[in-house]
Amino acid sequence: MSEDKHKREIGWTKLELASRVALDLEDGWFVNLGIGLPTLVADVIPEGREIILHSENGLLGLGPKPEPGEEDMDLVNAGKEPITLKPGGSFFSQSESFAMIRGGHLDAAVLGAFQVSMHGDLASWKLPDAPLGRVGGAMDLTVGSKRVFLCMQHMSKGVPKIVEECSYPLTAPRCVNRIYTNLAVIDVTKDGLFVHELAPGVTFDYVQDCTAAPLKIRASSHVKAETLEVKK
């Protein structure tokens, strides 16, 4: 499982991956998008669906990036990047924003990951060799959101991110519902990791080869996202 150029070229592009995630976000859902790759999801919401995006610094109704020159330092997302507000959006304080998150009011959080275990444990806030961790809202979002979706590259520098047990510090245990990578969509269930869907041209064996935990496949592999177990 060493670095393999070929492996990084097959499967979904970043934008295709974001689109695949967006496909599972339902009309009327309130969704938080994490910093990095998950942010792309905002740009690929399917036509006609009203998905209300939440940003933990205190807004609902996050819209697309502003035109150049239209940026406002007081209208930013959780990554401190300039954004816009959609009609119907609202502003509130961080304490209200996290009351919303922690009170179980968001339908889904789409987050990045350093590691995720076969039990749905997530490690995303501190690398073992980093001088400082940076937790931000990650622990609150994983504990509070009705569903936690990961949106990430399947491997990091050729090393699998999906593992039997996380070796990095945990963000939260048993919190991930579904993993979207450039190679596959994988459900985390009590019976283990189930491959729900493969990216075009990717085989089950190939995904297993890129994963450091056992994968399973359902008889019927096209389970709809709506049937996912909801925590709250």
Partner: protein, 231 residues
């Protein structure tokens, strides 16, 4: 007659003592009371405990107090950014203690400080490194941590507009930590773009009621809202 306006940031923060606990609003550069922080670097109070969400995102925030050796302890959720190096250095040499708190727990602890709640339970950070050593309790929803209120001797906050009584409204995501920190300090000082007469702010739109604001400083020039973007 109620008069909370101070002539300058320097005068508003003049009595801040060594060893004080200071809440600093803002999320990166947005809603950061940078003039109050700047005045404090000149005033020179030392051994401060500083509570602020981001450390190192912008130069004229808490990073300035750190590089000026005024800080003994930092409580924050996100100590990372282009200006975090001096913090890292001082944590390594032991001159600054760092307490990393999940962002929601940080907000809720400050809210508790303002609301007379000494402690509350939360599932956030249970079973993690950040929960180690904390008192725990099982509820039917699972394992929870006992988290304690945070109060400040001072809060430095930023708002767009104040009236003479100290009622505040904010501009967009400038709100962030400002309204909650306003509630949790003995002395809350707000730097604002403008101060209007009592009655000029629609009572339905006031975000921080006057009771929470003790001192006001009006910025001389309206801030350029694009200065800090993408720093």
């Amino acid at each position: 007659m109620i008069q909370k306006k101070y002539e300058s940031a320097a005068k508003a923060i003049a009595d801040l003592q060594d060893g004080a606990t200071l809440l600093v609003g803002g999320f990166g550069g947005s809603g950061l009371p940078s003039h109050l922080v700047g005045a404090l670097t000149k005033q020179g109070a030392k051994d401060l405990t500083v509570v602020s969400n981001n450390i190192g995102a912008v130069r004229d925030g808490v990073a300035a107090l750190i590089s000026n050796d005024q800080v003994r302890k930092i409580i924050c959720s996100f100590p990372v950014g282009p200006h975090a190096n001096e913090l890292i250095q001082r944590i390594k040499n032991g001159s600054i203690k760092l307490e990393i708190v999940p962002q929601g727990t940080l907000a809720e602890r400050i809210r508790a400080g303002g609301a007379g709640v000494p402690a509350f339970y939360t599932p956030t950070a249970a079973h993690t490194e950040l929960g180690e050593g904390k008192e725990t309790r099982m509820f039917k929803e699972g394992l929870h941590l006992l988290e304690h209120a945070i109060k400040g001797d001072y809060a430095f906050i930023k708002a767009q507009r104040a009236d003479r009584w100290g009622n505040l409204v904010y501009h967009k995501t400038q709100r962030n930590f400002n309204p909650v920190m306003a509630t949790a300090a003995q002395i809350t000082i707000a730097e604002v773009d403008e101060i209007v007469e009592v009655g000029e702010i629609d009572p339905e739109t006031i975000v921080t009621p006057s009771v929470y604001v003790h001192r006001l400083v009006k910025l001389e020039a309206k801030c350029d809202r694009r200065v800090l973007v993408n720093e």
